[in-house]
Each structure stands twice: as structure tokens, then as C-alpha cells.
């Protein structure tokens, strides 16, 4: 009854609620869509991963941890986890360093900046599906880049090399950096450097020239200006790049699938490849779902500490 006493009051209150919470209201639609398309679907995947659904006919009866146990016991999946860890770390390192390096070079007052920038960015324009093939050919040990390298007396086996460095024996696999991954890493870094280059160029453009000049004026060396003044400013950008690249590396599929596939002895296999094949080649839906859930957990392991670290910095 009281509500009816003053219609205007209700409207005013509604209005001021809207204004006070405008920020939340703007974000809300995105949150709702992401809730459904991400979290509900993950829940579904989680459910399937505990089920018996390993043929065409949907069968959601509970199977406990069986799919996970089988997965972790398989040579292939153990190799995948190892490959994923090394690939992610080196890929992210490579892309951020290369992007930063090239951005700083292009920052120098040079001619042909336009041309260089486009050369470094064009790989991003290409579909992984075809660049994978081009790189497979380039790293073919018989007829690829080795034709040039042989003149310097080296001819690596690239992705046909099944060596694992240092190759500690762990469960069923040898643990360490699979040498065969290096070729895939080069291809992936080649393709994605353009992005970090663009991000860093945008970031550098936000740092006023005066700041740098002031630092130089204070007698700081170029290197010191870079590490003490510029790098800290680029921190949020680096943070963004690292997350984006982490996301790409954990899901990497097309490039590796077309370039090397699983590779000899699974040295270049990735969880996403295994999942795709399990789900759509073998119809092991539950096994495929279990792989996705493990992948998500790996993300958590990487990302959550990172999120907390960022909070402390802020």
C-alpha cells in the first residue's frame, strides 16, 4: 500500500538504482551470455566426463573417475601434458620477447617502418591450416631449410627428432623438452608475434616522449630507461599478451594438426588434438570431455596464481 502513495518516488528510486549501478548493468548482459555459453557448457562437459558415453549412443550413466584414470595412465596423454607445459612456456616467452624486441626496433626512427610492420603482422592474417603445411615443408629435414643450413654444417631433424631433453623418466614417458617441438614453436611464434608487436606498439604510443627524455636527461642509459621506465609502463600490456597467448597455446590445434599431427612417438601431440580425435574420430565422448576438463584445470594452475599476482601489483 505504501508503494502506491508516491509513484514518483518509485520511479526516482528505480532511476537512482540504475544510475548507481550503471556499471554493473552494462556488464550484466555479457555476464549472462558467458554464463550460459561457457559455464553451463563446461558443466555439461564435466557431467559427460564422469559418464559412460564412449560410443555414438548418448549414455550419461555414472562411471566415476574411470575416464580420468584411463587417461592419466595412457602414454599419449602423459606425453600431451608434457608437450603442453613446454610448448606454453616457450611460446609465451617467445611471443612476448619477439614482439617487444621488434616493437622497440620499430620505435627507432627508421625508414620503411610501414613495410616492416606489415611483414611482421601478415603471418597473423593467414589461416593456421595452410601455414602449418608451409612450415611442415620448411622443416622437412631432407628438402627444407636444412638445404641452407647444411652449408653451415648443421642439419637438425626438426620435428622428426624424438629426443627428449633431458629425458628424466617419469611414469610412462620421458620428461623434458621434446626437441621436435622446437619446429612447431618457431611456426607458432612466427604466426603470433605480429599480435604482440601490435599490442606493444600501441602500448609504447601511450608513453609520453617527455617521460623517456626526462629519464635520458637524468643521465640514465638507454638500457636503463628501457628497464626502469618503459617496461613497468608496459606491464598491463604484457599481462594481456601473456593471457591471450596462454589461451592460444592451451587450445592450440589447427597449426599443430596440419603441421606435424601427433608427431613420431607423440612428441608434438597436444591435448586438443587428442580430444578432437577422441570425440570425433573414435566417438569416445566421455574421454574427450575428460580431456577438456583436465585442460581447464591446467588453465587454472597457470592463471589463478597469475590473477592474484596482478592484484598485488595493482
Amino acid at each position: 500500500m505504501n508503494d502506491h502513495t508516491d509513484k514518483k518516488g518509485v520511479y526516482e528510486r528505480f532511476k537512482s538504482f540504475m544510475v548507481r549501478n550503471i556499471s554493473l548493468l552494462v556488464v550484466l548482459p555479457s555476464i549472462i551470455f558467458v554464463s550460459v555459453f561457457v559455464y553451463v557448457f563446461i558443466g555439461w562437459t564435466g557431467l559427460v566426463s564422469f559418464s559412460n558415453w564412449n560410443s555414438i549412443a548418448p549414455d550419461l550413466s555414472f562411471n566415476g573417475l574411470q575416464n580420468y584414470i584411463q587417461l592419466f595412465q595412457s602414454f599419449r596423454f602423459q606425453s600431451d601434458i608434457r608437450n603442453m607445459i613446454f610448448f606454453s612456456l616457450l611460446f609465451i616467452l617467445g611471443v612476448t620477447l619477439m614482439g617487444q624486441f621488434l616493437a622497440i626496433l620499430l620505435e627507432q626512427n627508421i625508414r620503411g617502418k610501414w613495410l616492416f610492420r606489415n611483414i611482421f603482422m601478415f603471418p597473423m592474417a593467414m589461416s593456421f591450416v595452410v601455414t602449418g603445411v608451409a612450415w611442415r615443408w620448411i622443416f622437412n629435414p631432407e628438402s627444407g631449410v636444412n638445404i641452407f643450413l647444411q652449408k653451415f654444417g648443421v642439419s637438425p631433424g626438426w620435428y622428426t627428432d624424438t629426443t627428449i631433453l633431458p629425458g628424466w623418466s617419469l611414469f610412462k614417458i620421458e620428461f623434458g623438452l621434446p626437441i621436435g617441438l622446437i619446429a612447431v614453436l618457431i611456426a607458432a611464434i612466427w604466426q603470433m608475434t605480429g599480435f604482440s608487436l601490435a599490442m606493444y606498439m600501441a602500448g609504447l604510443s601511450g608513453i609520453p616522449q617527455e617521460v623517456r627524455e626526462a629519464a635520458l636527461m637524468d643521465g640514465a642509459s638507454k638500457w636503463k630507461t628501457y628497464t626502469k621506465v618503459i617496461l613497468p609502463q608496459l606491464k598491463p600490456i604484457t599481462y594481456g599478451i601473456v593471457l591471450m597467448m596462454l589461451q592460444i597455446s592451451l587450445k592450440i590445434f589447427d597449426l599443430v594438426y596440419t603441421m606435424t599431427g601427433s608427431g613420431p612417438n607423440f612428441v608434438t601431440d597436444m591435448p586438443a588434438i587428442y580430444m578432437y580425435e577422441a570425440t570425433f574420430k573414435s566417438n569416445f565422448y566421455a574421454e574427450g570431455a575428460a580431456i577438456s576438463i583436465v585442460m581447464l584445470f591446467m588453465v587454472m594452475v597457470f592463471v589463478i596464481p597469475y590473477m592474484f599476482r596482478r592484484k598485488e601489483d595493482a
Binding site: 540504475m18 560410443s55 622437412n140 629435414p141 613420431p264 612417438n265 574420430k281 573414435s282
Partner: protein, 434 residues
């Protein structure tokens, strides 16, 4: 203050509007484009979709020829060619499984004959074709092995379109002639030849196992040689032991074959390996008979530049790789779809399709005198030899089992550990007993 409110609500509104506006816009264009949702449109033609992975080259020409041929007979039915390539057919399977599960089936789809096709029946997604077989007298024209392969409990679920043979060695005639070598009949011959060639710096056996399936094919040849067709196919019932002397011997043979392959095999696909043979760097290639089409595209002449012979110990066996067409449940316009299926099994369609694809018809009553030299000899063998379903061709085993085999073989090629391979086969055996 009011301004903010208007802004806020207009952004929300925009978000919703954009979605709905796009939606209504799309329903218009959907009508124009005529997808599977709207199979009947005003002009009175009916649309049927055929889902396959025949997207390029001779395969695509073959499919289009069949579609055109049917169009001449039934101008009121439009066949939509929904071919999807990539991932060795797994993209097509991703599309098929999501469409069947989403209740949007194509009218006809391609699968490999046998388990690859029949697995869809586990989800009751297939319709029996027994009536079509009776009406068209197909039981008499397709070989029994081929019909049985697509049959569960007396119900036939597939129409075989084509047949390839994959227990073949393709060899470089020039290399063989120059070195005075005859094509091998047994593995003893094979290894003798291989030693001779290797000592002369020629790669005896070209292999491109970037896709591990092509190593699996080598293993299959060794198994087939050791076991013969009957015991070989008995393995896939799941009741046989994999740890036997014969299988261990086959593993050993396989391992020896690998010793004679090119070092960079894991960096090549089968085309690259075939190129090693075409460019006189390697002498032999074990591959399905689609290789003959590839050699001809390299301007090589059959029986002059390249020759073929059955893999050692398998000259009496025709190892089948086959594609069959399935008919999903819930297809609209069933009458028209069945008309199309009947056409796919007809002599006319099978002749035209296979000539363009470079395979041979699954029907044995078709005149192949216009076909290539190799195809003619293959068609003859198809009638006379013992038919066996190829493991690497995916017909005799569930796809899940085959991918476990591929995984085990991939590991074996590097590690050469026979116990590990046989253990993996034993572990995967449970997938066979269903």
C-alpha cells in the same frame, strides 16, 4: 541524470535489438538460400542434402557427375552437395554427429563401409535399406562380403559406392629394371631386394606416416601375410589372443620393414612418399590404389614408369577399402531421398562415379572397359580373389579400436618395443567385444 538512463537503456536495447534484428534478417536470407530447414519451397522443387568428404579432384567430379545424372532423371529434386573436407573425414564426422544429435540429418551421408557406417546405428540414427535392396535386386549384384559388412541382424544399412584395394606395392619400374630386380612375392624376396637397393643408396620402401595410419597399413600387410584373410578377420571378433607367436612374428616383420624406409618418414604425408618413388629416390610404396591416380597426375605411365604387385604373401587377397552411403532416420521427403539412394546404387551411377574417382564399382555387373588399365585389372581381381576388409580402411573394427591401434603403432615406430605394442592391442581388445 536522465541522459545516463537513456544511454544505459539504449545500450541494453541495442544489444537485444541487434540480436533480434540479425535474427529476422537471417530468416529472410535463409529462405533465399534454401538450406535443409526449408526443404520445400514455393517453386515445387525438393531439396536433398548429401554429406560427404568428396570435396576436390576426381572425387568431387565423381560426386558432381552423379548429382547431375540424377538431376536429369528427376529435375524436380535438387541435390545439395554438402561436402566437408579436412581432418581425414573427421570434420565430416563432427558435422554429422552434431547434426544427427541436433535432429537435423542430411538425406544421405558418406561413411566408410562396415563399422564406420554401422556405428551410427548404435544411436538408432540409420534406416534399414532392405526394401531398396529387394526392389533393385542389389543382393545379386553386390558381393556378399560387401553386403554383410553393412549388415546388423539382417538389416542392411549401407549402399557401397566404390572399392579400393590397399594390399599393393607400387614400384618404380626404372629402378627395378636398372637393378635387374623382380617384384617381390614373399617377404623373404622383399627383404632381399631391400638389401640390394639399400646398398646402392636407394630408399627401398617409401613411407609417409605423418598420419600414423600409413604405418598401420604396413603392419596390416605383415599381419595378413602371417595369418591369411580368415585368421586376420577373426582377430576383430575380440575373442582371439593378440599375444601369439604368429603376431609376434608379424610385429618383427613390420619392424624390419621400417628399417628400410626413408629416415624422414614422419615428416611426409603419403603423397610426398609417393613422390619419392616418382622421382626415382625410392623404389617401392605400400599404399591403396588411389596411388595409381596420383602417379598418373605426375605424368607417369602405368606399366611403363610404375608397376604394381600385391603385397608379399597376399596375392590371393583383395583387401577392401570402401565408401558406403547411409540413410539417416528422420529425413524429410523420404520418398525422394529413397529415389536418390536407388539411383546411387544403379549401374549407371556406379559406373560414372568410379571411373571419375579412379576406383572400381562395388557392383560386379558393370562394364569397366572404359576404365584405366589398372582399374580393369583391379575389377577382375575383385571378382576372383578372396575379399577381406582392411583394418586401415576402417571397415572391420570400431573407430575407437582403430585409433588405439594407430596410437600404439605410432609409439612402436619410434620405440620398437614389441611387448608394448602387443600389450596395447590386448588392452584395446575390450573395444571389440560389443
Amino acid at each position: 541524470m536522465k541522459l545516463k538512463l537513456i544511454y544505459a537503456s539504449s545500450v541494453l536495447l541495442l544489444f537485444v535489438l541487434l540480436l533480434t534484428a540479425c535474427g529476422s534478417d537471417e530468416s529472410n536470407s535463409a529462405n533465399q538460400n534454401d538450406n535443409s530447414d526449408s526443404e520445400n519451397n514455393g517453386s515445387g522443387t525438393t531439396e536433398l542434402e548429401i554429406l560427404s568428404w568428396w570435396t576436390s579432384g576426381g572425387e568431387a567430379e565423381a560426386l558432381n557427375a552423379v548429382i547431375d545424372g540424377f538431376g536429369e532423371e528427376e529435375p524436380n529434386i535438387e541435390i545439395v552437395n554438402a561436402a566437408v573436407a579436412g581432418g581425414g573425414g573427421s570434420n565430416s564426422q563432427a558435422v554429422l554427429s552434431s547434426r544427427l544429435q541436433g535432429g537435423e540429418p542430411p538425406a544421405v551421408f558418406q561413411a566408410q563401409g562396415g563399422f564406420d557406417l554401422l556405428r551410427w546405428q548404435e544411436g538408432d540414427y540409420l534406416q534399414s535399406l532392405n526394401d531398396l535392396y529387394e526392389e533393385n535386386g542389389w543382393r545379386d549384384v553386390f558381393p556378399e562380403t560387401i553386403i554383410d559388412m553393412n549388415t546388423i541382424d539382417g538389416e542392411i544399412y549401407g549402399i557401397p559406392m566404390n572399392v579400393h584395394r590397399n594390399n599393393m606395392i607400387w614400384y618404380n619400374k626404372k629402378i627395378f629394371d636398372d637393378n635387374g630386380i623382380e617384384p617381390p612375392k614373399t617377404f623373404a624376396d622383399f627383404f632381399e631386394i631391400a638389401d640390394t637397393l639399400q646398398s646402392k643408396g636407394i630408399i627401398p620402401l617409401a613411407l609417409g606416416d605423418q598420419n600414423p595410419r600409413w604405418s598401420t597399413l604396413l603392419f596390416e600387410m605383415a599381419l595378413l601375410n602371417e595369418l591369411g584373410a580368415e585368421d586376420f578377420s577373426a582377430l576383430w571378433t575380440g575373442n582371439e589372443d593378440f599375444d601369439t607367436a604368429k603376431i609376434r612374428s608379424a610385429v618383427n616383420t613390420f619392424s624390419r620393414m621400417l628399417d628400410y624406409t626413408n629416415e624422414n618418414h614422419s615428416s611426409l604425408d603419403w603423397q610426398d612418399a609417393a613422390d619419392l618413388v616418382a622421382s626415382d629416390e625410392a623404389a617401392m610404396l605400400i599404399m591403396g590404389d588411389w596411388a595409381s591416380g596420383f602417379f598418373m597426375s605426375r605424368d607417369l605411365v602405368a606399366n611403363e614408369d610404375f608397376g604394381w604387385v600385391a603385397a608379399p604373401g597376399t596375392e590371393d587377397i583383395f583387401n577392401i577399402v570402401n565408401d558406403s552411403m547411409g540413410y539417416p532416420t528422420g529425413v524429410e521427403n523420404a520418398e525422394e531421398a529413397e529415389g536418390f539412394l536407388a539411383y546411387l546404387g544403379s549401374a549407371e551411377a556406379q559406373a560414372e562415379f568410379n571411373q571419375l574417382k579412379g576406383s572400381i564399382p562395388a557392383r560386379t555387373d558393370i562394364d569397366v572397359s572404359d576404365f584405366s588399365e589398372y582399374s580393369q585389372s583391379a575389377a577382375e581381381d575383385f571378382k576372383n580373389l578372396e575379399l577381406n576388409l582392411s583394418l586401415a580402411g576402417g571397415s572391420p573394427v570400431p573407430a575407437g579400436f582403430l585409433s588405439r591401434v594407430d596410437d600404439a603403432i605410432n609409439t612402436f615406430v619410434t620405440q620398437r618395443d614389441p611387448d608394448m605394442l602387443i600389450n596395447s592391442l590386448e588392452e584395446a581388445k575390450s573395444l571389440l567385444q560389443e
